[in-house]
Symmetry: C2
Subunit: 196 residues, 2 copies
Amino acid sequence: MTDRLTSQIAFLNEADRLKTVLRATKILDATRRENSGEHSWHIALYAMVLAEHANRPVNINRVIRMLLIHDLVEIDVGDVPIHSQGGDAHGSTETQAAEAAAADRIFGLLPDDQAREFRILWDEFEAAESDDAVFAKSVDRVQPVICNLETGGGTWPEYNVTRQQLEDRVGWKVEKGAPAVWTFLKDRIAKWFAAN
Amino acid sequence: MTDRLTSQIAFLNEADRLKTVLRATKILDATRRENSGEHSWHIALYAMVLAEHANRPVNINRVIRMLLIHDLVEIDVGDVPIHSQGGDAHGSTETQAAEAAAADRIFGLLPDDQAREFRILWDEFEAAESDDAVFAKSVDRVQPVICNLETGGGTWPEYNVTRQQLEDRVGWKVEKGAPAVWTFLKDRIAKWFAAN
């Protein structure tokens, strides 16, 4: 019991560092960039609220757990903005290898059984193939879009994002997991890009 | 569908403000105070990791959902530190009435069925009677203790907290929901108070 708690609390303390990882998107009052800890909370809440819009039946509890742990690798790797380096950085082999090493280290702090369980969940999210992972990814992708729309485009101008790039890098992923949500946003997105 | 999404996204945008509510506890690198958004993420992760230490069998998925929404009322009321006003502010009638009004307003942004569902879950957490709520409360209470221990006492000196007060205001609640976790921490707590 003591050994398990020592490992578990070491992991939870390490996780605290996610609160210092800054993302491209700002919080809605535009006073500062969002950190990956509060982002993880917000999208878990998104999943809870938007579950009914999942394209296929999902186990919402697994989706929420996936979202709670999906960004922990950023403690070592940092956030890689979707629109950085012309949209190429995010899925690069280098980033993926670094994130896998981070997953080894960070989940490895937990007792073995939990380390395995968390790693399997993270791998499933990254693979983006299961219904749960596809919906989780759509929620993760749509939150920054909504934040940017609410803050006059947010950080889109800074990254020189075009409407087509938003569709190519983000839109289809949201549409795949939560089509009604993307349809709902399309008008507002079109209007913003037409005006800017 | 459009009506539901309009309400749901209004709620999710309002929830963003929880990222600007500051708590008494600092994050572990001690550079700044923790906000209630990232705190909510951290304790949902705590629940996921520490579920096996629950005093009685819990539905961990309900516990996690409870923790994701439990602090939203702070958007209107602010965080009321457990050790503020000599430990009396937190459970005061005024605070409880203000939080109930905040719950009406904030959950009321959701479609009716979800507003009811979230409110029932929040009421259950606040009542701290069900096994799920007792464990959720223990997790919510223990995270600041661990943060304070990791940061040389954290904000205990600022609030002039004694070891007895920590037991009276926090310890028994952690012990009720997760006795092994409190037992695990007791030695470290005793050492810190003996030295300070």
